[in-house]
């Protein structure tokens, strides 16, 4: 039962999101709209677009992932179910992990699926798109994991929405650097293995460290 709570929390969040389908699609819609603004701002030259594409896609992915963070624990906090989850005999770490998994399935996964479309819009080479998608697969879970810490720390605060951005975005900078850098090195004719390995290392580190941190933050915020 205790081991199951991870999947139960994730499944419950996904089922809840499934009942409000349009709301669940908002991050990916934001992602596409925001990225489409860049060619309008910078100009439509394919050369320029190809060069800025990885950075634009990553920054927009970062912002889209942050966008839905303040609702991660908010509704459960309001109706008291979060308190019950913390009081139950189940591990808070698994609850935090399940929440992060649900957030990734709802925001990270759609972004990964939409990213090749943006790659085409920005006239990227097909192998660059492939590396970008691999980078997103490794990087977006880290965004959800780090974001859940920020969401737990700012639970119930008046300025929560903007505060999460200020807390979490600086921590996400290494992901941005290595994610965009992977595509950049492929475009320069080098191997992306180094960047992708570092992304994988950050993913492993945050998989181990972020759920306990989120659990601790939830306990601080609810005490």
């Amino acid at each position: 039962m205790s081991r199951n709570v991870f999947m139960l929390v994730a499944g419950r969040d996904l089922r809840l999101a499934g009942r409000r389908r349009f709301e669940a699609l908002l991050p990916v819609v934001f992602f596409i709209v925001a990225a489409s603004l860049f060619p309008l701002g910078v100009g439509p030259e394919p050369q320029v677009l190809r060069q800025i594409a990885p950075g634009v896609v990553w920054v927009c992915a970062l912002l889209a992932a942050m966008l839905s963070l303040n609702t991660l624990f908010a509704s459960d906090h309001q109706d008291g179910s979060l308190e019950q989850l913390l009081l139950s005999r189940h591990s808070t770490i698994l609850v935090a992990g399940g929440k992060a998994l649900a957030h990734w399935v709802l925001t990270g996964l759609p972004l990964i699926l939409a990213a090749p479309l943006l790659g085409v819009l920005f006239d990227m080479q097909s192998h660059s798109i492939l590396v970008m998608v691999i980078g997103l697969i490794l990087g977006t879970p880290v965004l959800s994991l780090l974001g859940s810490i920020g969401a737990a720390l700012t639970l119930g605060l008046r300025s929560g929405g903007v505060l999460i951005l200020l807390l979490v975005l600086p921590l996400c900078i290494p992901i941005l650097i290595f994610g965009a850098g992977a595509v950049g090195s492929v475009d320069a004719g080098m191997s992306a293995a180094g960047h992708l390995s570092l992304l994988g290392a950050l993913l492993l580190l945050s998989l181990v460290a972020a759920p306990p941190a989120t659990a601790a933050a939830l306990r601080i915020s609810m005490s």
Partner: protein, 252 residues
């Protein structure tokens, strides 16, 4: 009285208040004295650099400020985590008092770096690894201060800040080792613990004098801010009330 008890003697806010009050004038004296000495050695005794001319002299403010910005972040995270883990009120107050000073030194390092970069690199700012990580450090300070300020409950604010500072502290070693990780426009570390220093002895002296001055200044300002926090948080205790009534009597 056992030894471990004596070790935490000044963890009591009232005793810390008395001790810091005694130390403050000396700290200010130390800060001003060493700053005057350091600036004198730096501006008048140190030789002009062969390639950079006199513009390099900002190093005497820039490098100590950059050191302080990182050390203070680690100190802040350390005290915050200690305050969280051991439930020590004073440690949490010290952590909070450290944040604005650390942010100030980070800003100072960035600002003097820009002033130095313009004549030597021809640009106010380059997106080099060390500059960027210093900028991220400033964001981390701002995030910490924004978080603790926006939580009304003092205990929750202290503990939430401690967790955030702990996560951010992972970033400080990255700053330090970024010089080795990315080989970029920024010059490599000139002072190293293992190799002989490559700069003239007087330059090193000036920099170390300024470092002592910045340390003393940090202690003084952090003590003052901690004392204000103590008075604010302990205002319902007897000793603060006594202190306040004595102060009003003296005014009369």
């Amino acid at each position: 009285m056992s030894r471990s008890f004596r070790l935490f003697m000044f963890a009591a806010p009232s005793r810390f208040y008395a001790l810091s009050g005694f130390l403050l004038p000396w700290l200010w004296l130390l800060a001003i004295g060493f700053a005057v000495a350091g600036l004198y050695v730096g501006f008048f005794l140190a030789p002009t650099d062969a390639t950079q001319g006199d513009s390099y002299r900002i190093i005497f403010v820039h490098v100590p400020a950059a050191w302080m910005s990182m050390i203070l972040y680690l100190a802040m995270a350390g005290w915050a985590v200690f305050g969280w883990a051991a439930n020590a009120r004073l440690a949490s107050m010290v952590a909070r008092a450290l944040a604005p000073t650390g942010a100030m030194f980070t800003f100072l390092a960035l600002w003097t770096g820009a002033l130095w970069g313009k004549p030597t690199w021809g640009a106010w700012w380059v997106w080099d690894a060390r500059l960027t990580s210093e900028l991220i450090l400033l964001f981390l300070y701002l995030g910490y201060m924004a978080l603790v300020e926006s939580i009304d409950d003092v205990r929750r604010a202290d503990h939430a800040g401690a967790l955030l500072a702990l996560i951010g502290a992972i970033n400080v070693p990255i700053i330090y080792f970024s010089v080795k990780w990315w080989n970029t426009l920024h010059q490599g570390a000139t002072i190293s613990m293992t190799a002989a220093p490559k700069m003239a002895a007087t330059m090193l002296q000036a920099m170390l004098l300024m470092t002592v001055a910045f340390w003393a200044y940090s202690f003084a300002v952090v003590f003052m801010r901690t004392r204000a926090l103590i008075l604010e948080r302990e205002r319902q205790t007897q000793w603060v009330m006594d202190l306040a009534s004595r102060a009003t009597e003296e005014k009369k």
